[in-house]
Each structure stands twice: as C-alpha cells, then as structure tokens.
Symmetry: C2
Subunit: 271 residues, 2 copies
C-alpha cells in the first residue's frame, strides 16, 4: 500500500490521528521536502512520530518514484507531504503510476494554504483562481499571473498568491557538469512578492484597477503559533518584514463584505 499523508501547516502535531497511526505502522516513511515546509524540521518530526524519515527531494519524487511504488507492492510505504497531499501535480501523477503498477493507494487529507488562508477573514467562496508568483531573474520576468489577479479583481474575487520556493535547485553552472551543485534554499517573502507586483503595476499604469496603494494581505506561517497577518498597501508591503517562511499574499477583491472588512481591520498596520 502507498499512502499519501498530509501533514497540515504548523508543526508535528498537525498530522491527523489517522495519519499518525499509519506513519507508525509503515515499513518506510518518506518526507517530501521541496514543495512546502513545516515550521519544524525533520528531526523534530522523527522524534515525535518515533520513526526515521527518508528525505524525498524533487529528484527522488520525479525520477525514482517508480522504485518506491514497486516497493509499496509488498510493503507499507508512506509519503508525507506538507499541507494536503494533492496540492501539487507531482502527487496526482504518483497515484496514476501506482494504479498502473497495481499498487493500492490511500490519501489522508489535511489543511493546506488553499483553505487555511481563510484565517485572514476573507471568505473562501469569494476567492477566484489561485496564482503562483515565481522568482524573477535578471533576464526572466514573467508576469502572466498578474492578468489572473486582475481577472479575479474585476469579478470582485480575492486572489491567493502562492510564493515561489527554491529547494535543492541545481545551480545554472552545474547543469552541464557531472557533479550537481545546489543553490541555498530560498522562500519568497511577501516583501519580495509585493516588490515584483509593484514593478508590474508601474509598467502598466492605469490598466488594471490595481494600484500600488491597493490593499494587500500578507500571511506568514499560517497554522503555526507564531502565525502573522498584516494588512497594508502593496507599496508599504515592499518594506514590511513578516518573519521566517512560508509566506503567502492575498490581493482582496475591491468590494468586501462588512464582516470581511471588520475582520481584516484587526491586522491593519499603522505604517
């Protein structure tokens, strides 16, 4: 049996009781570590679950997954995923491959940023399409996600922006070498996302209805005890520090429900 188990968002105890029972009985437990992270490390999880965890990076999940699935034909194997296990395409693909191999699967759902974002008081049913904001480089500055934000905004819908994560990314120079070298892990902050958004807005003035003084909601470490939420203009958010990762950003709809306004007001910054 191959289990995909969601860990939720905060720490070791955000796993469900059902998930924990499976982890404790499995022959092999892998921890997926490149699409998201918890606020605690692998060692804390190992101690709490009472099990050694094999770190599963992108190479393993996308390259060597068939070997793991074949192992799951005659053993109990679990892959632990931060948030809900079906948030990323990779995991849906794994389930399809498992089926081809005749391996049984079970999914243990959990909270993910896609529903826990409601902690800022904006109602989930008022969200439109979710977008991902990628890290820009000197030569590559994609901005197609902004059109989606504008499309949501024009229909009076909020947009959840998932911010880029770079974990175990090979350096450009090492791509042609035998021995891969990896970049330091990096997680886009609300500050960095706001900076890229303001640049797009300044390149397209008056075209979108969204301006640099439009309100944005920054969220960090949602679900953890030190979760932070901040409400201010995109412009001000460019210099606002929300602490350690993970961060997410929401561009609220232009017209909010009174309850949404009251709730957001708690998080308004003076700056």
């Amino acid at each position: 049996m191959f289990y995909l188990i969601g860990l939720g968002l905060g720490d070791a105890k955000d796993i469900t009781v059902k998930g924990l029972e499976i982890v404790r009985k499995c022959d092999k437990v892998l921890l997926e570590g490149y699409t998201s992270i918890l606020t605690v490390g692998k060692d804390i999880l190992e101690e709490y679950y009472g099990r050694p965890l094999v770190l599963a990076d992108r190479e393993l999940c996308e390259g060597a997954i068939d070997d793991i699935l074949l192992e799951a034909k005659n053993a109990e194997v679990a892959l632990l995923v931060v948030g809900d296990p079906l948030g990323a395409t990779t995991h849906t693909d794994m389930l399809l491959r498992a089926k081809q191999f005749g391996v049984k699967t079970q999914i243990i759902h959990n909270a993910s940023i896609m529903n826990a974002v409601s902690c800022c008081g904006l109602q989930l049913y008022n969200f439109g399409e979710t977008v991902s904001i990628p890290y820009w480089t000197d030569t590559w500055k994609p901005d197609s996600f902004f059109e989606k934000i504008v499309a949501n905004y024009s229909r009076n819908l909020h947009t959840l922006c998932l911010l880029d994560i770079k974990v175990k990314e090979p350096t450009e120079e090492s791509l042609t070498k035998k021995v891969r070298q990896y970049m330091e892990p990096k997680f886009m902050s609300v500050k960095e996302a706001a900076e890229q958004l303001v640049q797009i807005i300044e390149n397209n003035p008056d075209a979108s209805g969204i301006y640099k003084n439009s309100i944005a909601v920054g969220l960090s470490r949602v679900g953890a005890t030190d979760q932070q939420i901040a409400v201010m203009s995109l412009d001000a958010m460019r210099s606002f520090d929300l602490g350690p990762p993970l961060h997410s950003l929401v561009i609220p709809a232009p017209n909010l429900h009174p309850l949404e306004m009251d709730y957001l007001a708690q998080f308004k910054s003076d700056s």
Copy 2:
C-alpha cells in the same frame, strides 16, 4: 480560551493530534451540526474523544453564542466543526465577537471540501469561484449560481458546487406558532443538483457553452473509506445514485490538462 477545531471530513480519527489534545483537556466541548456532517454520528465521536459533546445547532450558534463566549473567558471551551472551522461565515463572526469580549481564541485547521475536492484529479489552482446550489421550492428557483459557473467555464476554470443542507430548519407553518416544528434533515444529492442544472440549461439553451451533455464530476463522502467519484454527463447524472451524503458536484473547465483527463478517466461511468 475559545477553540475552533476542524474535524476534517471522514470519521473520528480525522481530527489532528493537536485538536484531539485540546478536546480532551477542555471544560466544555460543543459539536456544530448544521453546516456539514461527518460519516459518523455524535455517539461515535463521544466514545472516541472520551468526552460528552453538546450539540450546537443554528439557534445556538447564531443566537446563544455570546453566553458560550463569556463562559470561555474563564474556562476552556471548544467548538468542533466538520471540515475546516473557517469555511462558514458564522465562525468568523464568532471570532470577532470573542475579541470584543476579550476572549482569547485559537483555530485548529483541517481538510475541507475546498481543498480535498482535488481527490478527483482536477488541480486546485484551476478552480474558480466556488458556488452553492440551494434547494428549489415550487415558488423559489434561484439560478444566479449558474452565471458564476459559466464565468469560471469561460475562463477555463473548474467550479466546485457545494450542495444545500437543511438541518433543523423550522417548517413554514410553525414559523408563526409558539412551538417550533422542524423538517426532517435533508442533504442535496448530486442527482438533485444535476436535475436543477439541466432545468436551468434547458431554459437558457445555447447561451452558456454548458449543455446537458457536458461532463460533470460527482463526489460523495470525500475523505471517508467509502468515498465515491463518478464522471458522466450532467444528463446521466440526473439518475445516478452516489449513496449517502454529503455530496458535491464539480463542473470541469472545457479544456483539461492531460494529467487531469487521465485521472478523471478512472471514474468514468459506462452509463
């Protein structure tokens, strides 16, 4: 302290470890029973948690909530909610009231249909605005949700349709009487939702791009061991039984990603 604890979607063991620890130490534990239901009843939950649960119906949650919040000033009180606790406006409102009373709050997130719907293989970031389909009566047949489905569809986005739930609804005749009488609880099935959608389509032929032979995805008891997913035309779905509640319906975008198509193909019905 006032805790809002998500129970997830399936049974008693879908609560998180953190949530269970809080339930076991609280002075009073309420179970919200009118916005959603688990596949197991209150008695099973009480046995598993080892705690008596007070059933919190709409009247209590919307009328007598202030008394409960005041109680939480000097005691540990938890409200258990199926899915994630912030899926419904009522709970956001409770948190605002708690703040006014100076009562501390904590939210324990969990899976909800808003993210677990990804179990059908449609990717969450391809979903647009979520809609609710209400039960029609002889004289009241609202269809504004259909415009939202069409707006998503035209942007190539999927629509999650949440289906109506009637729990402890007073009968119309009893509204003017001293003693309230209540209707039998009812939960809209995928069959009933498809029937209403086909009626709307037949009243607006060719206006939307969505036809009665368009594909729909029916889901029942998501997250439970007897979860069912069925893929067929809206027309066929009018006579397809997906078993006991809760049900949800998805209208997929017109152009699917190959991985989404492959995944959905598993659930295609011959009918």
